[in-house]
């Protein structure tokens, strides 16, 4: 499946949580899902989004790791922390702008989505992408993604931090990138979120 790309399309997500079930089936982390599943704005909408690791070109999780435990392979996949090195300090969990790393307290180790490395490295599709009924999580060739109404972006702005990724996010055609001001999403005391 050389040349295939991972595309996340929140507009297609129907909240069925099949991806979570599929992820938990994996032998390498049985019973623990690596998907960051969330509601976009629960008070206003029923929209959900399932996030897998975006596999950043310069992974923030790896850059903040004080134990040098998170590594990015030559194929651009950012792997779970190396067990002998991880000190379970939670830095990566706090640093990742997409909320992907998960601290496994029982194992005292951070684990994260590695695009099902045991599968994709031998030419199979990731678990979540195989089961997603609406293909909100899709592992497809770029030509197929181009046929969709949304356009893929790999550029994300979080305030001044610009992040480029391996995994693409499908966004409305009039935008080039996803850009948010982090301060807008900070909860400040008694302020109510009406908007």
């Amino acid at each position: 499946m050389y040349g295939y790309g991972f595309y996340i399309d929140p507009s297609r997500c129907i909240g069925c949580r099949s991806c979570i079930q599929a992820c938990e089936e994996c032998e390498t982390h049985r019973g623990k899902s690596m998907i960051n599943f969330d509601f976009l704005d629960r008070s206003q909408s029923i929209n959900t989004v399932a996030m897998v690791c975006m596999h950043c070109d310069e992974p923030t999780c790896a850059e903040v790791c004080p134990a040098d435990a998170i590594k990015k392979g030559e194929d651009g996949v950012v792997h779970s922390s190396l067990k002998p090195r991880c000190i379970a300090c939670n830095n990566c969990v706090l640093a990742c702008p997409f909320g992907i790393p998960k601290m496994m307290l029982d194992e005292q180790q951070m684990m994260k989505c590695d695009m099902c490395y045991d599968r994709t490295s031998i030419g199979k599709r990731p678990m979540c992408a195989t089961v997603c009924p609406s293909q909100a999580l899709a592992y497809i060739p770029p030509e197929e993604a181009a046929k969709r109404p949304m356009r893929p972006t790999r550029v994300f702005g979080f305030g001044n931090q610009i992040i480029t990724t391996k995994v693409a996010m499908m966004i409305p055609g009039q935008f080039d990138s996803v850009s948010i001001d982090v301060a807008d999403y900070l909860w400040e005391g008694n302020e109510r979120h009406d908007s």
């Binding site: 310069e58 992974p59 040098d68 998170i70 590594k71 990015k72 392979g73 030559e74 950012v78």
Partner: protein, 167 residues
């Protein structure tokens, strides 16, 4: 090196997030490793040399009366300790006027050697090591070195141990 790489802080190179960089060894790193290990080996060799040179300096051992003339018959032995109570030695009268003494500790695995009158040799029973009774040299068996020889001087009627000559 691209300008972008040059402007990167040092820690990003030293602790790269890419696993390929972690395994990659530059020629300069490898050369540095070779030079430094060779240097360390050389220093180690010099250290061993200096240590062994100092160890070879003869140390003054106390003189100790170990026996009297005529105390043992020809072909008989006397056991004694020299220079400390933990260093067991064996003395043999090989001829009416010849007394020889050696450390009793076999140079192989430190078993006690004894004198075999029949074969006129010093024998270590543990692994069948044989030493010459004349100079303590190895005749047969696994011992790697001769037995340390206890120097015996005759002073009047007394046999005095004056030192030890290592093989």
């Amino acid at each position: 090196m691209t300008p972008e790489e040059a402007s990167r802080p040092l820690w990003q190179d030293e602790f790269s997030v890419h696993s390929a960089d972690e395994r990659y060894v530059t020629r300069r790193q490898f050369t540095k490793f070779l030079v430094l290990t060779s240097l360390a080996m050389f220093v180690g060799q010099v250290w061993i040399l200096v240590k062994s040179w100092f160890a070879r300096q003869p140390e003054a051992l106390p003189h100790q009366v170990v026996a009297r003339k005529g105390e043992i018959e020809v072909g008989e032995v006397k056991l004694f300790t020299y220079p400390t109570a933990q260093d067991h030695c064996i003395m043999v009268r090989t001829a009416p006027d010849v007394y020889v003494a050696y450390s009793q500790k076999c140079t192989h695995l430190s078993c006690a050697v004894y004198y075999s009158k029949e074969s006129n040799r010093l024998l270590c029973p543990c692994h069948n090591g044989f030493f010459s009774v004349d100079d303590g040299s190895v005749l047969a068996g696994p011992p790697p070195r001769s037995l340390p020889k206890v120097l015996i001087a005759v002073r009047g009627d007394e046999l005095v141990a004056t030192g030890i000559r290592e093989a």
